[in-house]
C-alpha cells in the first residue's frame, strides 16, 4: 500500500510549533514525503535530533526518534548506526547545533563515512534562543549578539563536508522544493555519510534584523540569490550555490568494520598476548 507523509508525521500533533513562515515545516514534510516515496518502514528509521528549533522536528514523527543534547545528534546517531547498520539513520541539525557546538562531531562523522544522513536546517542564526550569531552567520549580518555586524567569517557547510570526506554533499533552499526533495532522496539512499545543506528562512529573527521582514521576502531573496554555478556561490555575500557537489561510492564505516570483526576473530589470541606483554 502506498504510504504518504502522514505515515511518518503524526497528523494530530499539528500545527507545528515553529513560527509563521519558518521553513522547518517545509523540510520536515519533504523528508516525510521522501520516506513515503521510498516506502520505508517506520520501524527501520531512526531520526536523531539535537537542540534548537529544528531539534523539535522529532516531536512530530512516528518513526523511532532520539532527541539528545545540544550538538550531539551525530555521535548519538553514530552509536545507533554502528549497533544496527540496517537502520536508516538521519541526524536533523541546525547550523548552531550541527555546525557550531557540534562542528567537531560533524567533521569526524564525515571523515569516518558513517552511513548517516545529516539534514542541516541552515538559517544562519540560533532561532530558538532569540537569534544569536552562529557558525554559519554571513559576515556583517546583524544578529542579537552581533548588533554591529558579525566580524566572523562563516563556515560553508558544503565545503566543510567535502573537505571532511562525506560521500554525498548537496545544497538546496526551502524555496527550491523540488530540488530539495531530490537531494534528500539521494542523500537517504546513499550508503555513507550524506549531507544536505538546506538554506532556510528565519523571518522572526534573522530576517527581521537583516531587512527581510517576512518569510515571503526571505524566500524571494533565496530565489534571487541562488546560482547553479558553483564558482559564483559565496555564502559570505549571501550568494547560494545550489546543486549536488559530491556523490561518490566508497565503503562506509560499518562495512569496513566487518573486516575488523573477521580479523579479530582470527587473530584474537596473538593480539591479546601482544597487548598483555607490554
Amino acid at each position: 500500500m502506498a504510504r504518504n507523509v502522514f505515515d511518518y508525521i503524526i497528523e494530530e500533533k499539528l500545527p507545528f510549533f515553529w513560527c509563521e513562515g519558518c521553513g522547518n515545516g517545509i523540510i520536515l514534510k519533504t523528508i516525510a514525503k521522501v520516506f513515503a516515496d521510498l516506502n520505508l518502514d517506520p520501524r527501520e528509521i531512526v531520526v536523531v535530533t539535537g537542540i534548537g528549533c529544528w531539534g523539535k522536528a522529532d516531536d512530530y514523527l512516528s518513526v523511532n526518534s532520539l532527541h539528545v543534547t545540544h550538538g550531539r545528534a551525530l555521535p548519538a546517531a553514530t552509536g545507533v548506526k554502528l549497533v544496527n547498520p540496517n537502520l536508516k539513520v538521519l541526524a536533523l541539525m541546525g547550523d548552531g547545533d550541527g555546525l557550531t557546538i557540534g562542528g567537531n562531531h560533524f567533521i569526524h562523522a564525515a571523515r569516518r563515512n558513517i552511513d548517516i544522513t545529516a539534514i542541516i536546517s541552515n538559517n544562519f542564526n540560533y532561532g530558538m534562543t532569540g537569534g544569536q550569531v552562529s557558525g554559519t552567520t554571513p559576515e556583517k549580518s546583524i544578529t542579537s549578539t552581533s548588533r554591529f555586524g558579525s566580524v566572523e567569517p562563516p563556515f560553508d557547510v558544503v565545503n566543510l563536508a567535502i573537505a571532511a570526506g562525506a560521500s554525498y554533499v548537496a545544497r538546496a533552499t526551502v524555496y527550491h522544493v523540488n530540488l530539495l526533495e531530490k537531494y534528500i532522496k539521494n542523500a537517504i539512499m546513499k550508503k555513507g555519510f550524506s549531507v544536505v545543506d538546506v538554506i532556510n528562512v528565519c523571518p522572526t529573527y534573522f530576517g527581521r534584523l537583516n531587512k527581510l521582514k517576512t518569510s515571503v521576502e526571505m524566500m524571494e531573496f533565496l530565489r534571487d540569490n541562488s546560482t547553479f554555478n558553483k564558482n559564483e556561490g559565496d555564502i559570505n555575500s549571501n550568494k547560494f550555490a545550489l546543486g549536488e557537489f559530491v556523490n561518490i561510492e566508497k565503503p562506509d564505516f560499518s562495512t569496513k568494520y566487518l573486516e575488523v570483526q573477521k580479523q579479530a576473530k582470527e587473530k584474537i589470541f596473538s593480539l591479546e598476548q601482544d597487548s598483555g606483554a607490554r
Partner: protein, 70 residues
C-alpha cells in the same frame, strides 16, 4: 484548461504566512490583511502542487477532481 483542481486550506494549521499566495505561478490565491489564503481563481490552477510543497505547515492541498489528493 477546464476547472480540474480543487484547492483546500486547513485553517487549523495555516499560520497565514502567505508563501502559497506569493509563489503560485497562476495567482490562484489571494490573501488580505490577516486572513487565511482565499482561493480566488481555482479554474486557473494547473495542479503544479508548489503551494503544497512550499507550505511550512502542511495546511494546503490540491486535489484533482474525482481523484483525491495529488
Amino acid at each position: 484548461m477546464s476547472k480540474r483542481f480543487k484547492v483546500k486550506i486547513n485553517e487549523q494549521r495555516c499560520k497565514k504566512c502567505g508563501i502559497c499566495v506569493a509563489f503560485c505561478p497562476k495567482k490562484v490565491l489571494r490573501i488580505d490583511i490577516n486572513t487565511f489564503p482565499i482561493v480566488d481563481k481555482e479554474e486557473e490552477c494547473i495542479g503544479c502542487n508548489l503551494c503544497y510543497l512550499r507550505c511550512p505547515d502542511i495546511a494546503i492541498f490540491v486535489e484533482e477532481k474525482g481523484e483525491g489528493v495529488v
